[in-house]
Symmetry: C2
């Protein structure tokens, strides 16, 4: 049995995105090579909501609901019925399925909150959980916290790899040998890879065959770049009995400051997720829930424009990295880039510290997403265009300085 000491060592969060301010940079000052590189700080650890502001009207929606008083301060744990009702309609249209607002949907404090609830009701001591490597850092860590066993499923995402996606044979092997739950994000965080329709269909069929619970994180599915297709697993015909899809307005819509996420799927699991929410956070902040009323009904052209602006930044940074021979897959959706670095004179964590201290660039080490990714860094390029491109050039410069 894992002890609390072991558990919380495994949950170390010093290098998690957004926590950089707590790191001690004294060590890197001593080993720095050359001079500091000029340039405004760019924090690629998360999107910049000043560059891409929250959905128009989100603050007005909040204020209206605050004005409603008691009714909105204390909602059902799964969220205010009125808000769930209209949201379920719009989500159903987007996904291409039919979601019952009453039985199949829960509002959580953030998409991460929804992910925690989904794993919290399906994973206990000894549960085998297939986790993609690399994938969102909380997937792996939540399984450890809950006492489950991580079964890693490698993701092929590099341009040098002939076939993209997860290894379906390994996945079937895992399902055959007692894996109970499979959790994954598509678009994948940190690589931006979108699982193809063929792969999604096969995952659903396998889960149905082996009675595996699926938890599908679609957080970035709205920000789909030109020429790309997206398949919502829950819209297929053959589905497993236990399926939860999660999504939220924190990314494309820049509403992260409100901590709102949504999960929908199997009634029994949603019921349990509400029971769990009843003891860990009660509900998503009451007044904030109202901001969901702006979601999936943004002003005409707003989404297209936002995608287009991100695509421009994506392409320019890709050009910078590829010109410097940093192997970087082109994200099909979302706002993450995951370049691979050449062998360096310092380890990854030190290099990330140097990037921050010497080059005013904050990135997240690949090891947050897969302990084996000791040569990659993740950038959220939802940033001011010019600042981001300049910072990408500084990353290239730093790689030159510290290359072996």
């Amino acid at each position: 049995m894992i002890t609390l000491d072991e558990k919380f060592r495994a949950l170390e969060a010093e290098n998690a995105p957004g926590q950089e301010v707590r790191q001690d940079l004294r060590d890197v000052k001593v080993i720095m090579l050359g001079e500091k590189l000029d340039g405004a700080v760019v924090d690629f650890s998360h999107g910049d909501v000043d560059a891409f502001p929250p959905t128009p009207g989100s603050d007005v929606a909040w204020k209206d609901d605050f004005g409603k008083g008691a009714k909105q301060a204390y909602t059902e744990y799964r969220g205010a019925a009125e808000i769930r009702n209209s949201l379920a309609d719009r989500l159903s249209k987007f996904i291409g399925t039919s979601i019952s607002a009453e039985k199949e949907l829960i509002i959580a404090p953030g998409t991460q909150g929804a992910l925690f609830l989904a794993l919290g009701v399906t994973v206990t001591v000894g549960t085998k959980v297939a986790v993609v490597a690399p994938d969102y850092f909380a997937n792996r860590k939540l399984v450890v916290f809950l006492g489950g066993e991580v079964v890693p499923i490698p993701l092929y995402y590099k341009d040098s790899q002939s076939e993209k996606g997860i290894d379906l044979h390994l996945l079937e092997n895992a399902f055959e040998s007692g894996t109970n739950v499979f959790v994954f994000s598509t678009p994948n965080n940190p690589t931006g890879l979108v699982y193809s329709r063929a792969v999604i269909t096969k995952i659903a069929a396998l889960a149905s065959n082996y009675n595996v619970t699926l938890i599908v994180d679609e957080l970035y599915s709205r920000m789909l770049y030109s020429g790309e297709d997206y398949t919502h697993l829950c819209s297929l015909n053959v589905l497993p009995e236990n399926l939860i899809t999660i999504i939220g307005p924190s990314k494309t819509e820049s509403l992260s400051g409100f901590r709102l996420g949504v999960a929908f799927g199997t009634t029994k699991l949603i019921d349990r997720m509400e029971r769990l929410q009843a003891i860990v956070s009660l509900r998503a902040a009451g007044y904030n829930q109202a901001v969901l009323n702006t979601w999936f009904q943004e002003p005409l052209g707003w989404l297209e424009n936002r995608i287009c602006e991100h695509e421009t930044i994506r392409d320019e940074i890709l050009k910078v990295f590829r010109a410097a021979n940093l192997e970087t897959a082109c994200p099909q959706a979302g706002s993450y880039l995951f370049p691979q670095l050449p062998p360096l004179k310092v380890d990854l964590i030190t290099f990330v510290g140097l990037l921050r201290y010497q080059a005013n660039v904050i990135v997240t080490p690949g090891t947050e997403f897969d302990p084996a990714c000791i040569d990659s860094i993740r950038l959220n390029f939802s940033q001011d265009h010019d600042a981001a491109v300049a910072a990408a050039k500084r990353i290239v410069k730093m790689v030159e300085i510290y290359s072996k």
Copy 2:
């Protein structure tokens, strides 16, 4: 090992406060005796923030922070440093101790969120946790969720009981036989009992002796009625090595709609709580954190007035219940009453359903706080004065109708 099915049966939330709208009332319609009782709906399951509105300026504080943009949308997981700094000063003054904003304090999504974090980092499979009966419903349920073992410690709170408070001999026995953690609320929820200085001092000494982790929920400690004294355990001289105190602005200040809570204490535990927050909800909603800037610096006289208004309601409802021979302890703090009902023709859950259907009164069954409390109901009397007193009279009338 407890299975997921067993675990979530134990976490049943149908009768949890605020969830009444999800209950099916068809059954009680059939067995109802007599006519419906007239009167406006009073929802005693939680406070009415229309009757006692949020702290003045809370919405303005929110709007100011929303205007700060990125800086406030993504804070450290433990909360924005600036907000923690000034809050730690004011909290230290209130508590009579010194709290390091940098190392000893974390902002969580609600006081319940803080409680979850505190138990989440101290309880794992097999951990023995002493839990007071009755006490806040989530204490017991969180221990079950985390795989721990509940060691119940009875609370003597009735006027008919000669000595008030927990049984310290039983507590010491529990500590002697391997209890690792003790969690309790003072003022107690649901009874309003404030642990005396002697009891608090003894608890701290015992925990120090037996190396037991203490988690002290002081959520209601600001709403202290005239003539009462309150001892903050963490301000004593002899303390255990591991101690977390939790408090929040959801009750006295009516800020529940913002989901804000605070935990402070042992650095190592606060660090771990942040690691856990990093994977379950990231942080308290960014913009909402600003509302903490209004806390412990309300307008002059605001707190005294709020306490005074609650004391009036407390005394009037007590008079109504006691005149009808419903044994009800006088709460020393907080806004809960926990009257005991005489033997009824129906079980407690049915009676609570009848109260809602027939009398327009929503209360929480005592079994939420202690499975053995099958003859008590909890009322949050932070309500409109006249409506609350009228509803209390309807409860008395309903008890008459259904008495054996």
